[in-house]
């Protein structure tokens, strides 16, 4: 017989390992945050200090005033917001059609959408750039939205199909018998019951579009249209020794994603664990 003692040991070991891992995960973030509060002199002092001696917001001021990071954040919010809205709306409609109203070839369509994610985005970027240039769409935020749609739609749709398949079919049949139209069923039965997973998937689409970098690098040129990842990148290329400003910029890149993440993390974890990821 196994004693409960060995269970206890495993549990304690798990806590220790997880704390260690959390430390490794968090320490770089905390460190850039602390550095962003230091003056340039203090950053280059040797030996390095851990806590800032005179915390200052001068780096943030610099980044916002001189490099227009607020515009970048607005651009990113626009791109990520529209993408997540479009992806979730079209994903819900598409998955609703594919799971509840099957037709000949519907599962092939579902697989084709999933497998489209196999196409490497980086290889499609150059021809997309050439096509967008023909259409006069290069250097617009909308071109990037098209690209981020392609990046996130297959995954989101596939998660939704996984979720809808587990949806109690009786509820839908009952609503149908009661005289609901198919759109009514979607709006009044399916959607209210899948708020959590939908919020989670919207957050995932938002974060992916927010973090998109290669697409922005190829498609967007002018400073006023850059999303924050690209803004941060060009900034690191131009100011590669100005660590204080860079750290402030890094924190500003990270903060919006962390806010979204914190608001929706309970739904995210739940939504993902409710089996949305399996399929």
């Amino acid at each position: 017989m196994r004693s409960p003692k060995s269970d206890k040991i495993i549990e304690i070991a798990s806590y220790i390992l997880l704390s260690l891992y959390s430390f490794i995960i968090l320490s770089p973030v905390i460190w850039i945050f602390l550095t962003s509060l230091k003056s340039l002199n203090e950053i280059f002092s040797w030996p390095p200090t851990i806590l800032p001696k005179n915390p200052t917001l001068i780096n943030y001021h610099e980044v916002i005033e001189r490099y227009g990071f607020v515009t970048c954040i607005l651009n990113s919010s626009y791109i990520a917001g529209i993408t997540s809205l479009v992806v979730v709306t079209s994903g819900v409609l598409c998955a609703y059609g594919l799971t509840f109203f099957r037709y000949k070839g519907s599962s092939q369509v579902a697989y084709a959408i999933l497998f489209s994610r196999l196409a490497p985005p980086i290889a499609l970027l150059v021809p997309l750039f050439l096509i967008f240039r023909e259409m006069g769409l290069v250097n617009t935020r909308e071109s990037l939205i098209v690209y981020t749609f392609f990046m996130s739609f297959p995954f989101i749709m596939w998660c939704l199909i996984g979720f809808f398949r587990k949806f109690p079919k009786d509820l839908i049949d009952a609503a149908m018998v009661d005289g609901c139209s198919r759109i009514d069923v979607l709006l009044k039965v399916v959607l209210p019951l899948s708020k959590g997973p939908l919020a989670a998937l919207a957050a995932i689409a938002f974060l992916w579009s927010w973090n998109e970098f290669m697409g922005a690098l190829v498609l967007i040129r002018s400073r006023g249209l850059m999303p924050i990842t690209l803004g941060f990148f060009t900034f690191t290329q131009e100011e590669y020794t100005n660590w204080g400003d860079l750290c402030a910029a890094g924190i500003m890149t990270l903060i919006p994603t962390i806010i979204v993440f914190m608001i929706l993390q309970r739904h995210m974890v739940k939504g993902i664990f409710s089996g949305a990821l399996r399929g």
Binding site: I32, I122, G250
Partner: protein, 297 residues
């Protein structure tokens, strides 16, 4: 009843086909364009013309290209093995604990929200030859400082660390979701039979989560194989003699110089590799599944 009422099949088609065709167009037209460009000579200095497979011949005869392909494979393999071993341990730990589990989960998923450019920047800073904390620790322990930019292998290893940092959460979540689907009575009956913890892991847990491990390894390998974000922010220019580059970075740099033909050719190479990887995964999955069915479980 309304005579105009459409059938369920048509309704399903109306809902699902428009996004499908949009996606289809969004992928197939660029793919056609990519292959078209890779068969032409398109660069700023020479005239535009159809050259058959000259771009491919040029690419495959270049020693630099061999080096880059090797780099990419080593890099993806390194990221996958690091990610999978850490993710498996973290997932098992998360599955074992009861208190504080939501806090730990949040921390574990947090790197997923981090842009790769940022983690590349952070790691570049940690390993910075002059100011980095890594060299500070090395020096205070009495070792020689290391300059990662001096060796391509070292650069690839450091880039793999940055990538691993962001890839762990997804792999971990996939494994954890599968772990939590294991019915508790399986553990309990094994315990009553006197199985040790290791035996339970080896003979019950591992076979049940094997598919999720396979799936997340495949995803990690695929994503790190084709994503050069970390390299772009860590080592602009590709290190000594461009020998520390990966395929995606090579593609982007040739695109920057205006060599559209050559960069499309690299794109086709990446595309074919991804297709081979995908097929490989499906074959591996099918064989595994057949084995399961054959065993009758």
């Amino acid at each position: 009843m309304n005579k105009l009422r459409i059938s369920d099949h048509t309704f399903g088609k109306i809902l699902s086909l428009p996004p499908f065709f949009f996606l289809f167009l969004l992928i197939c037209y660029p793919l056609y364009h990519l292959i078209y460009c890779s068969l032409h000579q398109i660069n700023p200095v020479r005239p535009f013309k159809f050259v058959w497979f000259e771009n491919y011949v040029f690419l495959f005869n270049q020693p630099l290209f061999h080096r880059i392909v090797l780099n990419t494979i080593i890099y993806a393999a390194l990221v996958t093995s690091l990610t999978m071993s850490i993710a498996l341990i973290v997932a098992l730990c998360l599955n074992n604990i009861k208190k504080l589990s939501s806090i730990f989960r949040t921390i574990v998923i947090l790197p997923w929200a981090t842009p790769l450019v940022l983690s590349g920047f952070v790691i570049a800073w940690i390993f910075n030859p002059t100011y980095g904390i890594f060299n500070y620790i090395l020096q205070s322990l009495g070792f020689q400082p290391i300059n990662i930019y001096s060796s391509a292998d070292l650069m690839i290893f450091v880039a793999a660390l940055a990538d691993t940092w962001t890839r762990i959460p997804l792999a971990c979540l996939i494994i954890l979701a599968e772990l939590q689907n294991i019915p508790i009575h399986l553990y309990e009956s094994a315990k009553i039979d006197g199985a040790s913890s290791f035996a339970i892991f080896r003979h019950i847990v591992l076979p049940l989560i094997f598919h999720s491990i396979l799936f997340s390894s495949f995803l990690t390998f695929l994503f790190s194989f084709r994503t050069p974000d970390v390299f772009l922010s860590l080592v602009p220019g590709g290190g000594p003699g461009r020998s520390g580059m990966v395929l995606g970075q090579y593609l982007y740099e040739e695109f920057l110089y205006g060599n559209i033909g050559l960069s499309s050719t690299i794109g086709v190479v990446i595309l074919i590799s991804c297709c081979i990887l995908g097929t490989g995964y499906i074959v591996a999955y099918e064989t595994y599944y057949q084995k399961l069915v054959g065993r009758g479980s």
